[in-house]
């Protein structure tokens, strides 16, 4: 990864500076999935829950990725899967960033007892392995994609809180902030106008990288039966079905490749963005 990234940090004529090879590769993969997600109902060969043919057909001209135990088209289901994974990942990251950054910024800016309380909460949450905590929360709330999403927000927000707090602590010592304070700006104004705008780079890089991880965690929760309910064409759920029919490799192959490509896409994009926005953290 680092080889590719460094090799492409040289500025090339005609391309903006951020357009490195990993960014473009990641962008293309993600653009593909976004387009698929938005347009799939218009051109999908079959319905995702339709019993489209004989069960357990290996990949063939009619069913590019074969059919599953109920004769559903694996290719169609794989493509439909993105309509669950991406929006959930987006929502989870958005909520985690919103909650985490707000609390992190308050902790870093206000300091004192508020900082201590928030950061201890962060420590406690981060002390659990993410998958275990997500499983526990989902099990408590009840299975389902919505509850899985809530569980993941609970797992993810502390990461952003810690990151944001560190950024705020650094930026608030800068001279322009002192100048703003000296000129009589209110504390909220100082935070929002003079500190936060300088804190976003690592957050954006992290959020992009985390997108892939959330997709993976959604799939994991569905795999163990805590996420999507059948017959939702969710990737983890599909892989779980495939595991039951181990010798029919194609049932799990489609969603497996889909997860791989989307995680890879986000990692490429995140890597490239990091090189551009926050090269020190590389």
């Amino acid at each position: 990864m680092s080889l590719t990234a460094s090799g492409n940090r040289k500025h090339r004529a005609g391309l903006p500076q951020w357009a490195t090879l990993p960014v473009m590769l990641g962008g293309v993969i993600l653009l593909y999935w976004i387009v698929v997600g938005l347009t799939i109902p218009l051109w999908a060969p079959y319905e995702p829950t339709m019993l489209a043919g004989m069960r357990f057909q290996p990949p063939n001209a009619e069913h590019w990725l074969g059919t599953d135990a109920l004769g559903r088209d694996v290719f169609t289901r794989t493509l439909y899967g993105v309509r669950y994974s991406l929006p959930i990942a987006g929502m989870v990251i958005f909520c985690a960033v919103l909650i985490g950054c707000t609390l992190g910024a308050i902790a870093g800016f206000v300091g004192g007892i508020v900082d201590s309380i928030i950061m201890r909460l962060v420590d406690v949450t981060l002390s659990f392995p993410p998958i275990l905590l997500a499983m526990a929360v989902t099990a408590a709330l009840g299975p389902g994609l919505g509850n899985a999403a809530i569980a993941m927000v609970i797992v993810w927000w502390p990461i952003y809180a810690r990151l944001m707090r560190a950024q705020v602590l650094t930026v608030r010592e800068r001279e322009h902030v002192e100048a703003a304070v000296a000129s009589g700006a209110t504390r909220p104004r100082v935070l929002v106008k003079h500190i936060l705008p300088l804190c976003w780079s690592p957050i954006i890089v992290n959020a992009t990288m985390d997108f892939g991880q959330v997709v993976l965690l959604v799939a994991s929760l569905s795999f163990i039966g805590l996420g999507a309910a059948p017959p939702t064409p969710e990737w983890g759920q599909m892989i779980s079905d495939g595991a039951l029919h181990f010798y029919r490799w194609w049932i799990a192959a489609g969603p497996g490749i889909a997860i791989l490509s989307i995680v890879l896409g986000f990692n490429f994009l995140g890597d490239g963005l990091r090189d551009f926005l926050d090269p020190r953290s590389k």
């Binding site: 829950t49 357990f56 109920l70 059948p230 595991a243 039951l244």
Partner: protein, 530 residues
């Protein structure tokens, strides 16, 4: 290189086997633990609280009933009782116990143990307690004679006694460990935990260890009074899915795989493995619970419409690759009274017509749960997805939530599940068990659950009367009565059988004595190595 190595190992193993066969040490093979791969799914090992397929295997190997089901799966043979008689109206049964029968601790099997066992089975009020319905009193004129008095005629009582749950317990040992047979047994009995680590029967095996979700280990009963079984130690290994079971079988880490489905069986090509497909009395059914939360719409007509919308043949094809049979009523094909019953019918027009007449042509939605289980080769979640597709054709949407089997059991009792799928295997050869479990008679297992513990009245008086008559009848008259009961059960549309899957027996070639038993699944004492 790999194949050379494999040849070498095979040759070595072959030579070793030949050498073993040539020497008196052949007994060594029988001393090796025999490993069975199976999803344990055990709810209890207390003979009177257990109610599961593995429980049948366990109980029939560690305990013995007064009688047992013969290998033809129909007739009854003596076991602890050498002979028995019934009075003319089938209300009093007298048994003479075998003089040599002893429990695993060496103490003799006596009439008091039989009395204690049957009373406890009735009084703990657990799942198999229905088998002692109508028991009034038990007299023990001497140590080896038992007289059972029933409230009303029960022509099937002898058959019931072949069920694994009616195995006789060593009452002295069980009582010492907290077991109670009195009328307060349901609340006062404390022995369930003790039974998880100990058996107290007279069967060919005793419980060695049970580790939930890991293994159930049997060792031979040193004091067994009958012919000693060939294998001295048997382990049932927890292996949840069919694929892993098949893999264990092929790799030699298991000798018998018990829940390999037809799809997985078709992938096994090893010449070392025997695969037999036999018809079974097991079946998968769907049930409607009009008394459950969210099931207000499920009146008789709507249930009828939904039953018409099911593609039964398709369900057999999709779940077991066609390796199964249709089943008419909750009494399985081949049991008394089932000849000539009308098979379930798919009729979409009728289904739509019924719903339209109720103003439900736009359908409705049901939230349901199903146990994530693969039984008899049928994945229940997969089956529900197939039914989901079928019902969508009449605009009935079902949202499926798979849950653990134990959770499912609890939910059926409270708050109830409007529509779900489950399985059943017989406990003995006789139709009464199905009426007592599935029939809409007061207080049967499914009458309670389907009615939401009595929220809606589902009791079918005609069934109650017919069943009373059936228990007093015998021969052809009994068959006729069960036939009528079966027709009533079909009409109720509470339990709708979907498939009676064929059973796959998959085992390594050197194992002998593997057979399906209607009461007990797999009789362990009959197993041996060639």
């Amino acid at each position: 290189m790999k194949s050379h190595l494999r040849s070498l190992i095979l040759a070595g193993t072959g030579a070793a086997l030949l050498a073993a066969a040539a020497m008196p040490g052949v007994a060594i093979a029988q001393d090796q633990p025999l490993v069975i791969a199976r999803n344990l799914e055990i709810n209890s090992l207390d003979p009177h609280r257990a109610f599961c397929d593995t429980c049948q295997i366990y109980l029939s190997s560690t305990y013995q009933g007064l009688v047992r089901l013969a290998a033809d799966d129909r007739s009854i043979e003596p076991l602890l009782a050498t002979e028995w008689t019934a009075n003319e109206d089938q209300t009093q049964f007298t048994f003479t116990l075998h003089p040599d029968a002893v429990f695993s601790d060496g103490s003799p099997v006596e009439a008091k143990d039989v009395k204690w066992t049957f009373e406890r089975l009735k009084n703990v009020q657990a799942d198999p307690s229905f088998m002692m319905n109508g028991l009034v009193s038990i007299d023990t004129p001497d140590d080896k004679t038992v007289v059972v008095n029933m409230e009303s005629p029960n022509s099937e009582f002898i058959g019931i006694l072949a069920a694994p749950y009616a195995g006789i317990i060593n009452s002295d040992v069980a009582t010492e460990n907290g077991a109670i047979a009195g009328e307060d047994a349901a609340s006062a009995d404390q022995a369930e935990t003790w039974f998880l680590a100990n058996s107290a029967g007279s069967g060919p095996y005793v419980l060695d260890t049970y580790r939930p979700d890991d293994e159930l280990r049997f060792r031979v009963n040193e004091n067994y009074w009958g012919e000693a079984p060939a294998i001295s130690e048997i382990v049932i290994d927890q292996v949840a899915d069919a694929v892993s079971q098949a893999q264990m079988l092929q790799s030699g880490s298991a000798d018998i795989a018990m829940q390999v489905d037809p799809d997985t069986a078709s992938t096994i090509s090893s010449p070392d493995i025997t695969i037999e497909t036999v018809p079974s009395y097991n079946f998968i059914y769907v049930m409607f619970s009009p008394g459950a939360q969210g099931a207000e719409l499920l009146d008789l007509e709507v249930r009828q419409a939904m039953a018409y919308a099911i593609d039964y043949q398709g369900a057999i094809d999709f779940t077991v690759g066609g390796e199964g049979a249709l089943q008419a009523s909750p009494i399985p094909n081949g049991f008394p009274g089932t000849d000539g019953l009308p098979m379930p019918e798919e009729n979409l027009d009728k289904a739509r017509e019924i719903l339209a007449s109720k103003g439900l042509e736009d359908g409705f939605t049901l939230d349901i749960t199903v146990a994530s289980l693969n039984v008899y080769g049928v994945d229940l979640t997969l089956l529900m997805q197939k039914l989901q597709q079928d019902l969508a054709r009449i605009n009935v949407a079902i949202n499926i939530q798979p849950v653990a089997s134990a959770v499912w059991r609890e939910q059926t009792a409270n708050p109830g599940i409007p529509f779900s799928a489950r399985f059943y295997a017989p406990d003995y050869y006789g139709s009464a068990q199905y009426v007592q479990f599935f029939g809409m008679l007061p207080d049967t297992f499914w009458e309670r659950r389907a009615s939401g513990q009595g929220k809606v009245d589902l009791v079918n008086q005609r069934q109650v009367e017919l069943f009373e008559q059936a228990l007093a009848a015998s021969g052809d008259r009994m068959n006729e009565l069960y036939h009528e009961i079966a027709l009533e059960m079909i009409k109720d549309r509470i339990i709708v059988p979907v498939v009676s899957p064929n059973l796959i027996l998959a085992y390594r070639n050197e194992i002998e004595g593997v057979r399906y038993s209607a009461c007990c699944n797999l009789p362990l004492a009959e197993l041996s190595r060639k």
